[in-house]
Symmetry: none
Subunit: 117 residues, 2 copies
Amino acid sequence: MRRDVFQAIADPTRRAIINMIAHQPLNVNTVTENFDVSRTAVYKHIKILTECGLIEIKQQGRERFCEAKLQKLNEVSDWVEQYRQFWKARLDSLDIYLKEAQSKKDAKPTKGKGARR
Amino acid sequence: MRRDVFQAIADPTRRAIINMIAHQPLNVNTVTENFDVSRTAVYKHIKILTECGLIEIKQQGRERFCEAKLQKLNEVSDWVEQYRQFWKARLDSLDIYLKEAQSKKDAKPTKGKGARR
DNA sequence: TAATTTTGTAACCAAAAGGTTGCATATTTT
DNA sequence: AAAATATGCAACCTTTTGGTTACAAAATTA
């Protein structure tokens, strides 16, 4: 059971849930009202979000309020930002690379790498 | 068949592929060499990444070079950043501050200048 | 030309994901 | 106490996902 934040935000319903409770904590039924699927389905999404740390559930009487813990999105942010330099700096890098590869190949042909397995 | 960038980066193997080719385009076999799964499995991941626009494949002879198109990560970046205010605004107590400092320390031990070409 | 290398893809499989209904339990409300 | 409300969860189902093997085709090498 993989429970990381990348997998958690992959589902559009879960992203919508995050959006709902980012502004204010809501109980399970209130969250459910905004979706076409059953309460159980929404509950499962909430559970997944809880398990990866994106939300926290606090009991209040018979209700459970879901509160967003968006610090966890830092994991995603950090992963994405490490690549920003690449999409800013590199334009048309393949052509450059292929030219280099071609001249290397001319000078010193590569040996076969062998088939896997 | 949902093919959005959030779903694409949910899989750890696909994130690893992105990381490999972010620095330079590689052909399919070279990408495969770094994983324990079959070439076909890797190829499927590459196809998914292509279908959502995160990479592009360019033929050169019998090889296909996979080039990262990381601009697409802007979709993820934008989605995450819209919530930054929420998790920044709530850093008001000492223990939250300390917790965040600790996770930063754990998450990115090397914060150097980054790759340079 | 024949063999090798690199890739694309079909057919198939097991496990995970996302959904449902139904029921049990704890808390209000009446 | 009885009814209503809010939730947790088991059991089950279907589709998707991630993987495999096997084979075909194109390009390169010997």
